[in-house]
């Protein structure tokens, strides 16, 4: 058994596709129209054959209250790995991304949390080199 797909609920799939590709820098893997919505996945440029991230419609009525409660407490929906949180923070802020938590050194990791403009908070995490 392997994990090949992860994802998040997004308010607007086309807006999310733009944010996750143009702003974050992921690459489209699949974009298949399925009636009202589409099956849209993105992958990392660093691992195009790796885990796909699904931009799933947030149409189900349970999604709204669920995500509202997470965002209220600042809880990220998922987390992406980066080599340098400071550099990513700088790059994304320059593109207009709003961070709810700037880079924070937590000992073994450095993390930051931003708003994906589609209803989710996303964490980026850098594992610090162990001395």
């Amino acid at each position: 058994m392997r994990i090949t797909l992860a994802g998040a609920f997004v308010d607007d799939q086309q807006k999310a596709l733009r944010f996750y590709t143009e702003t974050l820098g992921f690459r489209v893997k699949h974009n298949i129209p399925l009636g009202e919505h589409s099956w849209i996945t993105v992958v990392s440029e660093e691992a195009p054959e790796g885990t796909e991230f699904l931009l799933e419609p947030a149409a189900h009525p349970a999604v709204g209250p669920f995500r509202k409660a997470l965002v209220e407490d600042g809880i990220p929906y998922t987390s992406f790995a980066v080599d340098d949180v400071e550099a990513e923070h700088e790059r994304l802020v320059a593109k207009g991304v709003r961070f709810v938590q700037p880079p924070t050194d937590l000992g073994t990791v450095i993390t930051a949390v931003f708003d994906d403009t589609c209803g989710n908070l996303i964490q980026i995490m850098e594992e610090k080199a162990q001395p």
């Binding site: 407490d73 600042g74 709810v100 938590q101």
Partner: protein
């Protein structure tokens, strides 16, 4: 909201650690506070428990919350502690060498 005595509010190690972290950076979410307590202080209480600690601190006037976007963030308010310092100034004993700030428990 009910009022909480400031002395009771700071009579707890976890709540003092929360204040330390909010002094380190203003405007934190519950998630960030929990992460800092776990990773920096080894305090692994549940999110719900930390949320209740924050309510006590807020009721004592030591923490203020504000909504930013759709998130609820927390700020430290030092005024109630300053009032304690004014009530009991440094010392009335000329020889203070036996007591230092280091004696204060974290």
């Amino acid at each position: 909201m009910r009022h909480v005595d400031v002395y009771r509010a700071i009579a707890d190690r976890t709540r003092r650690a929360i204040l330390d972290e909010l002094v380190d950076r203003s405007g934190q979410s519950l998630f960030e506070i929990c992460g800092r307590l776990t990773m920096k202080h080894g305090i692994s209480s549940s999110r719900q428990a930390i949320s209740q600690h924050l309510e006590v601190l807020e009721a004592a006037g030591l923490v203020r919350t504000r909504r930013e976007g759709r998130s609820k963030l927390h700020w430290f308010v030092g005024a109630p502690l300053k009032a304690i310092g004014q009530r009991w100034p440094d010392s009335t004993d000329e020889d203070t060498s036996h007591s230092t700030e280091e004696d204060i428990e974290k």
